[in-house]
Symmetry: C2
Subunit: 392 residues, 2 copies
């Protein structure tokens, strides 16, 4: 399969972004989140460890990519932008305490006359440092500054058919990777061997669907670590009579389908089987509630009602939107499935429903990536949903 995003796709996205900019009184936005840079231009590359940005102005249809000189060829190769809209800083600006790449980017915006009115920057996003922000402010003395964190991310919430096709492809890869993961959790294997085979499956993908790197490395907390959900792996062997939670994603063209499953090696205590059954029941209730017109908090409430009936409660949020992403996070960082988030769900919004039951020294998580449909949340991937018990 081959899904390509063309100039029409980017035009649609840019129109939607400019409409939101108009609502918020923004003349220019300078996006530094690599996911947003990709969404607006197609730019792809592991270059987000140095300052880079895509600027969008109300005054002009075409955005500008700004980045490091040695990455300009990457911009030429991956974006739809003409040469006139690719602006680079030279390498002397990299990690140099006496100057900042944002100095050059500010000069580029001034040259274009994009330094008037209100300029939005992503003040709580990834890869914009306080010093970068200050350098841009110093370089644009005629601008007023505003926070546009989440503006592009919110445009990304409802997925196009092509985007959904990417996520379905990611889900096929996820299914294969989760099969590998379940297979590799074994007392004869080290955690690093399991992570290695999971990554191999994620990145190779399928014969007709090459995989991309996930924005988060495999999380496979095992034993006592199942109460520390962001543990990656060690070189220890998996232990008999313990739980392992595996949270991994399939990724295709930077679109993600993440999922968690829990494995027990041996004969699990009844309380863990019970917890898993409650989680699955709660997932079904939450998916049932994930219809257009309901809100984010309605989905959480459906989950909470279910577990409350079993005398349990979970404090953290139970999900977040997913899609196009770069490290360190595959979430879109806009809505949350939790009390107080009254955002109305719309058809083809996509989420990771990530519920679990965590006790002092063990935990069970069984999650689903899903799409909002009139019939409720439609699961992207088909993987068995019980506590996975391996007889070892």
């Amino acid at each position: 399969m081959r899904i390509t995003f063309d100039a029409d796709d980017f035009d649609t996205r840019l129109r939607a972004v400019r409409a939101r900019m108009a609502e918020q009184g923004l003349d220019v936005i300078v996006c530094t989140d690599p996911s947003n840079m990709h969404y607006l231009t197609g730019y792809d590359g592991w270059s987000f460890y140095v300052p880079q940005a895509v600027a969008v102005a109300q005054a002009e249809a075409t955005p500008v990519w700004m980045g490091r000189g040695i990455d300009a060829n990457g911009a030429r190769a991956t974006t739809f932008l003409p040469e006139t809209h690719i602006a680079a800083y030279d390498d002397s600006y990299v990690q140099n305490p006496t100057c900042h790449p944002m100095d050059v980017m500010a000069a580029e915006l001034r040259r274009r006359g994009w330094d008037r009115g209100v300029v939005g920057m992503e003040l709580d996003g990834y890869y914009l440092s306080p010093r970068a922000h200050a350098a841009m402010q110093a370089g644009l003395p005629n601008a007023r500054f505003a926070d546009c964190t989440g503006l592009v991310n919110r445009v990304r919430a409802v997925k196009s058919d092509k985007e959904l096709a990417c996520m379905h492809a990611a889900a096929r890869i996820l299914e294969a990777a989760m099969r590998t993961a379940i297979d590799m959790v074994d007392p004869a294997k080290r955690e690093c061997d399991a992570a290695a085979e999971i990554l191999r499956t994620q990145v190779a993908g399928l014969p007709d669907t090459g995989g991309d790197y996930p924005a988060i490395m495999p999380l496979i907390p095992s034993g006592r670590n199942t109460n520390a959900p962001h543990t990656t792996w060690s070189d220890a062997y998996f232990q008999r009579d313990t739980l392992t939670i595996m949270e991994i994603a399939g990724a295709y063209k930077r679109y993600h389908a993440p999922m968690a499953r829990t494995v027990y090696l041996g004969e699990p205590p009844q309380k863990m089987r019970d917890a898993a059954a409650i989680v699955v029941e709660g997932v079904d209730a939450a998916l049932e509630a994930a219809k257009p017109g309901n809100t984010c908090e309605d989905v959480e409430a459906a989950w909470q009602r279910t577990i409350n009936r079993h005398g349990l409660a979970k404090e953290s949020r139970v999900g977040y939107p997913i899609g196009l992403s770069y490290p360190p996070d595959w979430g879109e960082r806009t809505m949350s499935l939790r009390p107080g988030d009254t955002t109305e769900l719309r058809e083809n919004m996509t989420f990771h429903l990530m519920p679990g039951i965590w006790q002092d020294d063990w935990g069970v998580a069984i999650s689903e990536p899903f799409r909002v449909t009139a019939g409720g949340g439609a699961r992207f991937a088909d993987v068995p949903r019980e506590l996975i018990v391996k007889d070892v």
Copy 2:
């Protein structure tokens, strides 16, 4: 092998950090770079997609970890800190536009009386947003603020014996991963299949040395993309009669040994063989200059003199320090091997010497991770250094 960092190691590091803080007039530093957090406490986990920090005060020997509630167990499992020095915010603060995790962290610092005098923050590091910085400033009205970007990173420059052992372990993994990479560049393979096998080798590591995830995914620009060095991979097959540059690292306990090699599939044009020979000659000259007492720019000058003799020049910096790291970068972001950096080299500083010759539509890179010794730069890894020619 098993290398463990104990309380003594952290004590040594913290003393060195407090000495630098004193030099710079800092009473407290709040480190948000996950590499620095790990260096100061041992904290490990893929949780840096939410705000978290380690604070160090002149007034007290023990630092404080501050992060998300569900990551506190990870801090208990991976750091030497007592329960009194682990402070968590609840999940309602995550990605919530009406409050900020830094509000809670500021309250924790106030509670400890660490809100007086000068508080340093890493204003040009990763994972500190302008909004996070502003929230901390608002929460510490009695403090003056300063920029401590690079302070801990510079302490990290000279490696201890245990750290060097980790880097040697990483180099063994690198050697295996590079063999895999060379093997997988083949017209019968897709780029994603090569990336998959490289990652498998990196993460599985060796029988007695489990691998860790590298801070940068495999970069394997191929064909015309060799002039875009931060390209990851696609699902296209490798093409005959093209170059592929592979830049990958071995990682062990978050310590890195990165390297680039270049492969030609078929019979390479003489100009590419010549370029590779020049690069290797330049590497040898640069390593020869990498002795204590010489400076960063001396190393670059040795490289530059060599290639100038062949009528060539390269504009970007040719290397940077390496060691403990998290995504998005395996560099330490302090020194640069380039003109103008007069930092004096010291025994057991560690660098990635990353030279290459890039033309309009092709490039050759042959790099080395090395340690500064009295005899010059000592290579960590033993991998053939010529243009690798595969007859296909």
